[in-house]
Subunit: 186 residues, 2 copies
Amino acid sequence: MANNDLRKRIKEVAVEHFNKDGYYGTTIRNIANEVNCSLPMIYYYYKSKKELFDDIIKKEFFDIIKKQTSKLKMDNVIDFYTRFIYDLNNLSDYDKKVYRLGIKVYLSFDGDEELMNLMDEWEKTIMPRHYQLLEPYLKNTDNKTAVVRTLVHLLETMIENIVVKNRYLPENEIREEIAIVLKDCE
Amino acid sequence: MANNDLRKRIKEVAVEHFNKDGYYGTTIRNIANEVNCSLPMIYYYYKSKKELFDDIIKKEFFDIIKKQTSKLKMDNVIDFYTRFIYDLNNLSDYDKKVYRLGIKVYLSFDGDEELMNLMDEWEKTIMPRHYQLLEPYLKNTDNKTAVVRTLVHLLETMIENIVVKNRYLPENEIREEIAIVLKDCE
DNA sequence: CTTCTTATTTAACGTTCGTTAGTATTGTAA
DNA sequence: TTACAATACTAACGAACGTTAAATAAGAAG
């Protein structure tokens, strides 16, 4: 009954601790304490500390990313990207922390080489995906790749503001910035 | 004689380790090993592990930041910001790592609350400084603050690419992106 | 009620951590 | 060469770490 409840709760608390203190700063004991279970219970559900960390990144983080990128329906370009970013404000606390932890690994501030490689592969898909999305709307632009690159860079900072720095970004500010880069798409 | 040499060398190695493994993942023993000195020598020059970390951020990092912001001479806006970012490519390895560590603290991926507060204060000065710099050149723009905000956001990602992800950003790519945001300043 | 699996605990293992006491070596000034 | 401060080391402290063995408690199945 409580079977998967405890497993889930452990992961939730782990996300919090890995976020706050990093991989090495997080201890199994602290997690067990906050979960209110005994220390070996963590090992009952997860083979090791590393597996717990990897599970969060490989499953939880990439789930969020996939969920996010699957919402790719385009009408107005600026509207779309504004919503794409704005929606991040409404992620659950848990999802936001998982996302944050993922970015931490993405910047190789935590995690190991294996996870870094996963991130590298994922990163390679970003630019082409947005280029493909934007290409039809950039008819009058001479340097399409530059615009796409600039937009993606801008999106990255805004994601970081919401997810990593945990700030609320109002919709109009998001729209303003995106509109400046996509000026020719209005 | 070797007085300050060893002190300096310890800090250099510490920067490397704090970067790679974070505060908790870094051990005084590992630092001492790489420096090729005995373990208590670290304590001869630095009161504690925390003081060593704080010293790097408070002195080294903010030195780099101050050096960077002091170079504020403006002729052509786009030229200026292009150079501002491009020059980061040529930072020494040591400076780059210190910068990277600073960003890690800035994103509160490492360090404690005290350092975070320092970063917050510093961050507050960024936007006004660039606004003041850019204001004379934005005569024809209706929403000046949005342009400045977008530019600063864009700069942040490019800095992160060079310093955190350790990538080389070619001058023309930097210029392209900045020019898109500062289109009306050419 | 018994049997067997699943869930949970107590207690401890070996290791490594940050830190320090105590001692030796070196350099310098008299 | 002697005296003294600065620089360096060996050895160890107690605490905390990841992990596991062994035992117990709870639930389901017969």
